[in-house]
């Protein structure tokens, strides 16, 4: 057993740490998050140069590394609270195309993701689907040689800046059938596609994506018609692993900052960290963080196992980090007193991100249910 990073992985981690230290202090992050696009194109270019955008993609398309490398980057994204749409583009978009794409799709898009010239979003949720990935009302009907898409995709992270949006749509079956879900690669400026863009509470950007008879060619179909669910789940599990790592990064910052605050903030003539009730709660935060870190490693290392093992790992890890993240976030706010409530301090921003991480791909309750079903 070995939980250490290899030499190359350590080098990657060093480059991530250096970038955050030099380019992403919290005030810079605030400016970036409040800018029109909500992220920095210049940073995106840097990511490409540093090779981060190629992580996890197939080697024959310029990619390198796998789950551990993704984890290293995502943990850094969590620590720096980066707003660049790495998860939608590289992990989800790149992942879906690498997993299900034909040679043309792969060679057309993957290297463009890696060199930073193509951004991607994955539109899976719908207004009434809640967390069920198979609950798809958006329809894709055969039309001419291609397909015609109609439906409403909700809260699509990264959609405002995406060049391509990968859409899950139903080609057959009832609204919640596992069979009959297909994936399509749609140009963000396609006729009939309209978006309503907005900032999200955690400082990212998302959209409502409306598809009104969007015509796409036969070559837009990604993977096998009607058989997308296993692919979606596999890539979403990678997304879950990535989010777990991001959450660990966020929790680590909160733990360090709060611990420091307890040592320096004085009330009643002593540092508040002298009050045992706060000590114990700080200890609880530390334990949640260590559990979450362990789970993030666990799910990362199990991503390539068979489906049942992988799903168990992902649901367990997501249930832990969903709960642990919100706990550490809320406790950090509370232990900072009034200061924790402010927009000025980082604390509340990390808390808001951890709340969204809990929701994304299904919250702790949802994951526990899935886990129970898999382990009964």
């Amino acid at each position: 057993m070995d939980f250490n990073l290899s030499e190359d992985q350590q080098l990657l981690k060093d480059s991530v740490d250096r970038f955050i230290q030099n380019e992403y202090d919290f005030e810079t992050r605030r400016k970036i998050a409040n800018s029109d696009e909500g992220f920095s194109r210049k940073n995106w270019k840097t990511f490409a140069e540093l090779g981060w955008l190629a992580v996890g993609l197939p080697e024959e398309h310029g990619g390198f590394g796998g789950p551990v490398e993704t984890m290293v980057i995502m943990e850094g994204i969590g620590r720096g609270l980066l707003t660049e749409p790495y998860l939608p583009t590289v992990v989800l978009g790149g992942g879906l195309i690498a997993e299900a794409g034909n040679e043309t799709q792969k060679s057309g898009i993957l290297s463009a993701i890696a060199d930073g010239s193509c951004m991607v979003a994955f539109a899976y949720a719908e207004p009434t689907s809640r967390f069920n990935l198979a609950d798809v009302a958006t329809k894709a009907e055969k039309s001419g040689g291609g397909w015609k898409l109609s439906g409403h995709k909700s809260v699509v992270y990264g959609a405002p800046s995406a060049d391509k949006i990968i859409v899950s749509a139903r080609t057959s079956g009832g609204q919640r059938d596992r069979d009959g879900v297909s994936l399509f690669i749609v140009d963000n400026n396609a006729n009939g596609l309209s978006r309503r863009d907005y900032p999200t509470a955690d400082g990212l950007r998302a959209s409502e994506v409306m598809l009104e008879g969007v015509e796409v060619g036969a070559d837009a179909l990604l993977g096998e018609e009607g058989k997308a669910m296993p692919v979606i789940e596999k890539v979403v599990d990678r997304g879950i692993a990535a989010l777990c790592a991001e959450a660990v990064g966020c929790m680590e910052v909160l733990k360090d900052e709060t611990n420091e605050y307890l040592k320096t903030r004085k009330q009643f003539g002593v540092p508040i960290g002298k009050f045992q009730v706060l000590q114990h709660r700080m200890v609880d935060c530390f334990i949640e963080l260590e559990q979450s870190r362990s789970m993030a490693y666990m799910v990362t290392l199990k991503l390539d196992e068979d489906e049942a093992e992988r799903r168990k790992a992902a649901t367990a890890a997501k249930a832990q980090i969903g709960k642990g993240g919100v706990f550490v976030g809320a406790e950090s706010v509370q232990m900072h007193g009034g200061m924790g409530m402010t927009d000025e301090l980082k604390i509340s921003h990390y808390y808001k991100r951890l709340m969204q991480i809990d929701t994304m791909f299904g919250n702790r309750d949802y994951q526990l249910k899935q886990f129970a079903a898999l382990t009964q």
């Binding site: 809640r130 909700s154 907005y198 509370q334 409530m341």
Partner: protein, 398 residues
């Protein structure tokens, strides 16, 4: 033992209900219902309507312009107002400083301030906390130095709710620094228009402007604006806190929040069924409702004791603790009920870049912002940890 309200109390409830049906403006009702940010004018409009009826401070003694309501009547009034989605009556003037003035103030102070408090002419804010003094309030440093008929005030207050709307601020200031901390504090009423007073906004995590920093630079305050005696301010401050705690459980408001949560959980879908039918979710809602019910009956017991003339002591801390926890679980569940639609961010009105049309279902409006703001209720007004210290010391003798 008897749970029922008296016939007179029931008749009063009917009277309040009828009044609200007739006089609460629809646009205010809508704003409150949809969790929109209330502005100065919104609060004042409702304040004046209640004032015309004589109900804006119904629980004040009649000789000072109230109706002398019993605790039960006050409870009924609050309950009906929340049920009707009326704007809240802010506590700083009528609940906090008003009773201090009519209990400890001079005749001149009563004559000048009380009518203006009741009419809404004076908007008050509370200047207690300082950057270095939060939970340990008695360590406050803002100084007031006597100079003839005036005090010269220097220092800084922080977290002052709605100070940007206020005409007056009631402050705890330091007038002596030898001896016990508590014995060198004085209670001053300061006109916000005095030269040397500056208000600077603080934005909270919901990005709303609720609280402020207030700076005092050589602010001259006439000695006649001092409440009671010099260096005795802590006594009045404690009396005020006792008042602040009446109604602290916010039972009626919590009930309303819970009803809204259920409405939302009925209309949101999970696997093609209403979310409220989801086992896990409905269990969490039920747990919260049970906790709220226990809070309600704790509150009614305290109320009954108050009717018999004994003011709440450590129980008030218990009510605050339970009430704030219930509120936080309800707002958290409401966020959860929305799933992904909690994330689109609608900032409070008039914030630059605000997206006023809510994204997602109408009932998503303001839900996340409310939850984020409600993180403060276990911090403000004495944090939960401090409430537990109080119970441990005062009730349990530890």
């Amino acid at each position: 033992m008897d749970l029922a309200f008296s016939p007179a109390e029931l008749a009063f409830r009917e009277e309040v209900r009828a009044f609200l049906a007739e006089h609460l403006p629809d646009d205010l009702r809508e704003k409150v219902r949809n969790r929109r940010e209330l502005k100065r004018d919104d609060y004042l409009r409702w304040h004046r309507i209640l004032h015309r009826k004589g109900w804006v401070a119904g629980w004040w003694p009649e000789e000072h312009g109230g109706c002398g309501w019993t605790p039960a009547e006050r409870h009924i009034f609050d309950e009906e107002c929340h049920n009707a989605d009326a704007p809240p009556i802010l506590p700083f003037g009528l609940q906090m400083v008003g009773p201090v003035i009519y209990t400890f103030g001079s005749q001149a102070q009563k004559d000048f301030f009380l009518p203006k408090l009741l009419s809404g002419e004076h908007w008050w804010c509370q200047g207690y906390s300082e950057p270095g003094s939060g939970s340990d309030l008695a360590s406050l440093k803002t100084s007031a130095v006597r100079d003839g008929d005036e005090y010269v005030v220097n220092g800084q207050k922080i977290w002052t709710s709605l100070a940007h709307y206020a005409d007056w601020i009631f402050c705890l200031v330091r007038t002596a620094s030898d001896g016990k901390q508590q014995e060198g504090i004085t209670f001053l009423l300061i006109d916000m228009k005095s030269p040397g007073v500056t208000v600077r906004p603080i934005h909270l995590m919901d990005r709303g402007h609720h609280v402020n920093e207030v700076f005092f630079e050589d602010v001259r305050v006439p000695v006649e604006n001092r409440i009671g005696e010099e260096n005795k301010g802590w006594t009045y401050a404690k009396f005020l806190l006792g008042n602040e705690r009446a109604g602290i459980a916010e039972v009626a408001w919590n009930k309303k929040l819970l009803r809204r949560l259920k409405e939302i959980a009925f209309s949101e879908q999970a696997d093609g069924r209403p979310l409220i039918e989801d086992d896990v979710f409905s269990r969490k809602v039920a747990e919260t409702e049970v906790k709220l019910t226990s809070l309600e009956y704790c509150n009614l017991r305290v109320l009954a004791e108050m009717q018999e003339g004994s003011p709440p002591g450590g129980e008030a801390s218990m009510l605050k603790l339970l009430g704030s926890e219930v509120t936080q679980s309800i707002t958290e569940l409401t966020v959860e009920a929305l799933g992904y639609y909690a994330a689109p961010y609608d900032m409070p009105d008039e914030t630059p870049g605000s997206n006023r049309t809510p994204v997602g279902p109408d009932h998503a409006e303001g839900v996340l912002g409310q939850h984020l703001f409600m993180r403060a209720i276990t911090i403000a007004g004495g944090s939960s940890e401090i409430q537990k210290n109080i119970i441990a010391k005062m009730v349990l003798g530890l």
